[in-house]
Structures are given as structure tokens and as C-alpha cells.
């Protein structure tokens, strides 16, 4: 890790990092990398750190879901109908059947463990959100940099395509797409198809956001002296694009990717809610919310937990992303 060489005072003005106070030779001035500077700033941003830690926890829970559920819950698809009332089919006991055995209670009608399903739901949500962000970033960076650097008709073409995509009714498109999808596609089956489609579609409709930012940055960067210098020294276009411009785009792209993940989590949840997500019995937060709709008046806890999961995940990613932006972008105001 790029630990800072010198401690900075906690109350220091953030701009000090870039130009440390030349305090009459008290400290030796050393150059710092962007990473070091950013880490320093991030470390001081407690809210962002809390977000980051939550994100890390969520990722760990998702990765080690079988372990977590093995310790604290029941298999996510297992029915426990003995936990339900005879007449109403609602969980026995208060708060949706919460107990030491069933931490978040059980579902009405089926009696599945809500805790286990929230934990497994994190896998789908995060997987789809991460991969879709990757797709969006890759596409957005490539098209954005090309549009910004070459300009002219290439820029016009790519920009219009981005406009069209931004205006596209994404949700409606996915819902109708899912209903006509075959069960097998490119060697994938069933849920594999659904996840792949969610990733590709959410990513595909997300790239113009990244693309616009990258294009804008590229437009200003390509006029910089070091690019001029590289060009005059005979650097090829590929060299300039990927060696000179791309490294300087890493910061905004990273920030945007982090901020894109919570949006993707919400989109995935909305699609699952509308029945266009993963297939049953696979748990996802959105489909849990939909299942909870029918009984929300009499068993609100079933709606609370997946709702809370979405809320926490989205908030954590947003806080972390905001902190990261502040840390990476010295000119930005807090």
C-alpha cells in the first residue's frame, strides 16, 4: 500500500496536499503520487470510510454467503411451514417470526429464512451491479476517449448514439427482452442467461454516462502540453490514447464507476421487482420486496429487511463514491 511518508495534520486544508506549506524548511518537500494524496484525503473523511467499510462487509458477506448462512441461518430455499400460523399463513410470533433460530423471521406462505435470502440476495445484487459497471466503464471509456480525441464526425456519431441511448426507455426494453429470451443462450442456461442479460443490458445503457465524462476530459487533456510533446516526439495515436490520456482518466472513471454501482443495484432490484430478474427460487432483494407486497399490512418485517438491504447497500456505495471523488479531485468543492 502507498502509505504516506509524512503525517498531515488532521485539520489541514486539503489543498495543502498538493503544495505542502513550505514551512521554512521544517519538512523536506517530497513528491507524492496521486494515490498517496487520495488515500490521505480519504482517510480523513470518516463518512466515506464508513461507507467503504460497509461496502467491504457487504462484499465479504456476498462472497462467503454459504458460510454466513451455515453459521447463522437455514438453507435459503428450504421451506419451514411449521413456523406459520394455520389460518392466515403468516409467521408465528411477533415481528415476522424473528427469533434466535430465524434472525430476520420467515416468509409468509413458504416459511423460508429471510436472513439467508437477504444474504444470498446480496450475491445477485452485487454481482450484477459490479459486472454491469465494468461493462459500462469499458464501453464508456473506449467510446468516450475515441470521441474526445478524434473529434469531427466520429465525435458527432458517438455523441448522437449516446444521446439516443440516454433517451431509451431502459426498463421497458429489458422487461420485454426478458419475456422473449430463450432458456439457453451462448452456452448459458436459465439463471445464467438472466444474469448475463441483466449485466449486458444495464451495462449497455450505462456506458453513455461514463462516455460523456471521458469525452469531456479527453477534450481538455488532448490540448495539454505533455500530449503535444508526445505528439511532436512522434508518438503514435495508440501511444497517446492509451499511454498519455488513459492514465489521466483513471481518477474520474474510478469515481464514476463507484457511483454507478448503487444505481445498478437499484435497477436490478427494480427489474427483479417487476419479475424480469433472476428465476425463482434464487433470492434477490427486488423479488423479495415483490413477494412481501401481498402481506405488507400484516407482516411488514418481510418488506423491511430486503428494503433495508437495498437502502444500506446503495447508501454505502454512494457515500464511499462521494468520498472517493472528493479525494481524487482536488479542485472539487466539498
Amino acid at each position: 500500500m502507498t502509505a504516506p511518508l509524512h503525517d498531515t495534520p488532521a485539520d489541514a486544508d486539503p489543498t495543502e496536499d498538493v503544495a505542502p506549506a513550505a514551512g521554512a524548511g521544517v519538512r523536506k518537500v517530497e513528491g507524492r503520487t496521486l494515490k498517496q494524496i487520495a488515500w490521505n484525503r480519504l482517510k480523513r473523511d470518516k463518512v466515506a470510510l464508513a461507507g467503504g467499510v460497509t461496502v467491504l462487509l457487504l462484499v465479504l458477506v456476498a462472497v462467503f454467503a454459504p458460510l454466513v448462512v451455515g453459521l447463522l441461518g437455514h438453507p435459503p430455499d428450504e421451506f419451514h411451514q411449521e413456523e406459520l400460523e394455520d389460518l392466515t399463513n403468516l409467521p408465528k410470533g411477533a415481528f415476522g417470526g424473528m427469533s434466535g433460530d430465524f434472525l430476520f423471521g420467515v416468509e409468509p406462505n413458504k416459511g423460508r429464512d429471510i436472513f439467508s435470502r437477504v444474504v444470498y440476495g446480496a450475491r445477485i445484487s452485487l454481482l450484477v451491479a459490479f459486472l454491469a459497471a465494468v461493462v459500462a466503464v469499458v464501453l464508456g471509456t473506449i467510446f468516450g476517449i475515441v470521441a474526445g480525441y478524434f473529434g469531427g464526425w466520429i465525435d458527432a456519431l458517438i455523441s448522437r448514439v449516446m444521446d439516443v441511448l440516454l433517451a431509451f426507455p431502459q426498463l421497458l426494453f429489458i422487461i420485454s427482452l426478458v419475456s422473449v429470451l430463450p432458456d439457453e443462450l451462448l452456452g448459458l442456461r436459465d439463471n445464467g442467461v438472466r444474469i448475463a442479460v441483466l449485466v449486458m443490458v444495464i451495462g449497455f445503457f450505462g456506458w453513455p454516462y461514463v462516455g460523456r465524462i471521458v469525452r469531456g476530459q479527453t477534450l481538455s487533456l488532448r490540448e495539454r502540453e505533455y500530449v503535444e510533446a508526445a505528439r511532436s516526439l512522434g508518438g503514435g495515436q495508440r501511444h497517446i490514447l492509451f499511454r498519455e490520456l488513459l492514465p489521466n482518466l483513471v481518477a474520474p472513471v474510478t469515481v464514476y464507476a463507484t457511483l454507478m454501482i448503487p444505481t445498478n443495484i437499484l435497477t436490478e432490484a427494480a427489474l427483479s421487482f417487476l419479475g424480469a430478474g433472476v428465476l425463482p427460487p434464487t433470492a434477490s432483494w427486488g423479488s423479495m420486496l415483490r413477494d412481501a407486497l401481498g402481506t405488507y399490512e400484516h407482516d411488514p418485517m418481510f418488506m423491511v429487511f430486503p428494503g433495508l438491504a437495498i437502502f444500506v447497500a446503495v447508501l454505502a456505495f454512494n457515500l464511499f463514491g462521494d468520498g472517493l471523488r472528493d479525494a481524487l479531485d482536488p479542485k472539487g468543492t466539498r
Partner: protein, 591 residues
Amino acid sequence: MPTGSSKRRLTAGAALVVATALTASACGGDSDGEGNGKGAGYNAGIGKVANKSTKKGGTLRFVAKQDLDSADPQRAYFGMTWDFMRYYTRTLVTYDTKPGAASNKLVPDMATSTAKISNGGKTYTYTLRDGLTWEDGSKLTSKDIKYGIERIWATKVITGGPAYLQKALDPKREYKGPYEDKTEDKLGLDAIKTPDDKTIVFNLAKPNGDFEYMLAMPSGSPVKASKDTGAKYTQRPFSSGPYKFKEYKANQKIELVRNTEWKKSSDPVRPALPDRITVSISKNLEENDKRLMAGDYDIDMNGTGMTQSGRTTAFQKHKDSVDNMETDFVRYVALVTKAKPFDDIHCRKAVFYATDFAGLQKTRGGKVAAGDIATSVFPKAIKGHDDAYDPYGIRKRAGKPDLAKAKDELKKCGKPGGFSTKLTARNDQTGEVEAATALQEQLKKVGINAQIATFSGADSSNLTGSPAVTKKRGYGMVMTGWGPDFPTGQGFGQPLWDSRFIAENGNYNEAQISDPKIDKLFDDAIGTTDLNKAGDLYKKLNKRILDDAVWMPFLYEKNITWRSPRTTNVYSAAAYSGRYDYVSLGVNDKK
């Protein structure tokens, strides 16, 4: 019949569209039901009449999630529409206005008696009552009945209704319908004769013991030729019953008022108690339940039962105003006999043994809200129903599975470790995907891995209703539900199990049962006019289907239904799938 039945099936489990659900309780009524009187008691409308009364006057207020499929008697196929139509249409014979299974008996309506059958069961003759009138006061004659029935043939204009009468009278469809009829009076159909204004004679192509049931459907109603507006007739049907349309706004509201030309002396069936009947159509089921409980409406016209949320509140606060009614719906799983490994009877039997029927029942709402575990292929009110025959011991084990026997059967079919298949469920049918998920989890215990495929009910006729698509997509098990068009073995089961009903599209013999013995049993049962004899044959059919393990019933569906305390003469009628008999209802105040 296939296409139409699919519509009836759609109504069965009313779809809870997410979008509408999202707006739930946006303007909630007072669910405490203040200002409501006390109900007549839990199940007071089951097997007996709740709030018996002959008091006339007042407004009966229906609420409905779904509008009538058509107000045109020849185009309607929903059971609830048939129930509602008795307000303004009459038929030669109709269902008795009695609670429960007694309603399945046919009684004369416009005719003076049930049919005089002659010519070896091929000729049905009716004489009409005196004093039959249209809403404009003109006399209703046998020719109006013939004209109404002829409209069934005009399938280019008159779409959606059942075709039973056409198939029984003119199976080759030689007649082209009244709109293409070259005769002067448009009465060119040879199979129906009207020797005078009060006599009507039907000549069947071959005997069909259920023919009178076909005439009791609203498609056997009269239509006055001069008032026939073709496809637009649904907007303003011309009444022959005690009520007529004052207003009909499709998907919004219906208002019926008294037809002053209708003579009580000509109609032994309809008490015609309220002065006015209104139907408010509103998509939000949860909200409708709330407003019923708040006293804003009296009865849910769709009659598909309260939502889980609604019935929980009703049980907690107004148990006196609900009935737990037995519908004629059977929930089932068809095992596709053309799909591997279900071509092997032992693999099919393994499913019968591995299924936890009690678990499926619980998942759909439990014994009260979902219904009893089914072990017969026929619903309880149909002759041929036989709960005593239980070859898989399901009743004996109280619905629990027998995993040892299931594994045994798997060995016998050469799949000791289980197998993979696909199970379909309709995602707009309340509880169906949930039940499929439960079945998937149950079958997993013996190694049968059933992947669930879901689609909307409207798509099912092109998916599970197409043997080619079923094969292409590898569907092995089809979970769905079915109710009869009329309460006999033929009216329930022929589309489901007769190999001659397998169609390229809109096929309901999802299991693709192709068994000459079953086909023969249908022919024999239909050929007799003795309903008890037919019932015995249908019992044999029940045994044959179960022994062959091709069609697995799992639930005789029940509903929890609301009746407002002010509604009188309320009873559940088997003839209308357990719905209240609308034509008998009244109200006990002047509101």
C-alpha cells in the same frame, strides 16, 4: 372449449399486477367497517341461504377488478359473466336457484319444462311459457331464441364465446351464421326448427347427454334480430330478463335498472329484489377488499376470493361476513407424456410419491384459504368425482410424501439418482409460482431437479398449449388450474384428457394423453342421457387417469369471499364455481 376456457382460467386466480399493487391503499377506505351491521355468520352462505328475505328495493353494489369479458350473451365465457347475465338474459333451461351442489340441477326458465327427448337422444323439444317479453314490450318468440343461437356460427363477428352448441348441432359448420344468411328471416340453420312461436326443436348430429347444459349457457339466449348490432351488441344488450342496462362504460361501471316489461308470472327463477344494480370496476384488489369491508360495496363480482391481506383483516375483524366457498377449480400438474423421462410411467409415479401435497396446500394459503388436497381428477360437485380411490395413498398419509416409494419408482424407471426436467407456472396467477417453487424444493429431496419456467397466463396457449413448443423448450411438468364449462365430466375433462382435443395451439391436454380407452370412455359417457350412468363411466375415467399417473391433481380450490351484512339471499352456488348466485341477491335497506 379450449380458447374460451383459457379466459375462464385467467379469471380464476386474478392477476396481481405489480404496478397496481404499488398504489395499494393509496386512498384506503375505513377498514374497520364502522357503520356496518353484523354479518350473518361465518359460512352462513355455504350450503344454506344467509339473510333470507323477500324484501324488494334498494341498490345492490358490486365491485370488480375485471370487467365482464363481454356483455353479449353469445360472446361471454367468464363464469362470473354467466352468473351476472341472468339479470338480463334468459335461457330455455337454467341452473336452479339453490345453495351448493343443488344448483347444478337444470330447471325450466323460458321453457315450460325441461326437454322432451326423442329420436334416440338426438331430438330436444321445448315449449315456451306465456308472457315472455323483450324490454320494449314486444313478444319474445322461439325465433328470437333460434336467432340468438345462430349468432354462435358467425365467428367473424361473434368472437370469444363457447362453441358447444355449434359442435353438437352442426359439427361440420355448414351454416355460416345469420350475417351471411341468404334467407329472408335469417333463420337458415337446419338443425333448429321453430314450427310455431312457442315451440323450438333441436336436432343433434349425434346424441349428447349434456346438451341441456349447453343450452343453459348464456350462448343459448335469445337475441332480437332487429336489435342485433353485431360486434357492438356488447355495448347495449337488449334485455329479456328483469333488469336492463341503463349505463355501461367498459372497464369503468355498469348500471342496471328494472325492466318494467318483464313479467314475474313468466319467470319462476328470478326473484328480482333490488331496484338497481351497480358494478364499479377498479383494478386494485387490495383496495377493493378494503372498500368491501368498509361497506362501500356489497359483493365482489369476479368472485375470485379476497387477497391474503384482505382475508387476514376479514378474519380478524369481520369473520361473520365471510364465506369459505368451494369452487369447481382443480389445481393440477400435467406430466408431459411425450417428454423424457415422463414417457416412463414409473418416473411419473415417482412424482406422485415425492410430492408433498400438504406443503403445496399450505403454500397456496392453507386448508381454509386454498382448499382441500385433491386426489380425484374431478372437482367435488361433478359426477365422477371419487375421493375413495387413492392409489398412491396420498389421503392416507394426510398429503405427506412417501420418499422411499418415490425412490423405488425412480429405480424402476432407470433413474435411481433422479433426473432433470422443467416445471412451468404462470406468473400472473396468485400463488402459482410459489406453489411451483414449493414443488421444486420437494422433488429435490429424491433428486428430481425441476427448473421453473414462468410466463404470463396469456402466453400459455402458445407455450404449454403448443406440443411443438413444449417439446422444443423441454417442458416436463405443467402446473395450472381448470374449471368446468358445465358441471359434467365432459364439460370438465374432455379438453384435458381426450386425445382428439390435442391441438397445435391452445391445447389444454398439456400432458398429451393419447389413450384410446380414455377416448372411448368419453364417447360412452357423452352418448348416454342417464347422468348417473355417465357418472359411473367418469369414475372409471378417473381411475384410468390416476393409474396411468399422467395428470396430478393437488387441490380442490376454495376462496374466502365477502358478503356485506346488508346483502340478502346470499348463497354459494356450485353451478357458478362457488360464486354467490347473483340473480337471487337483495339488500335490506333502501340505500
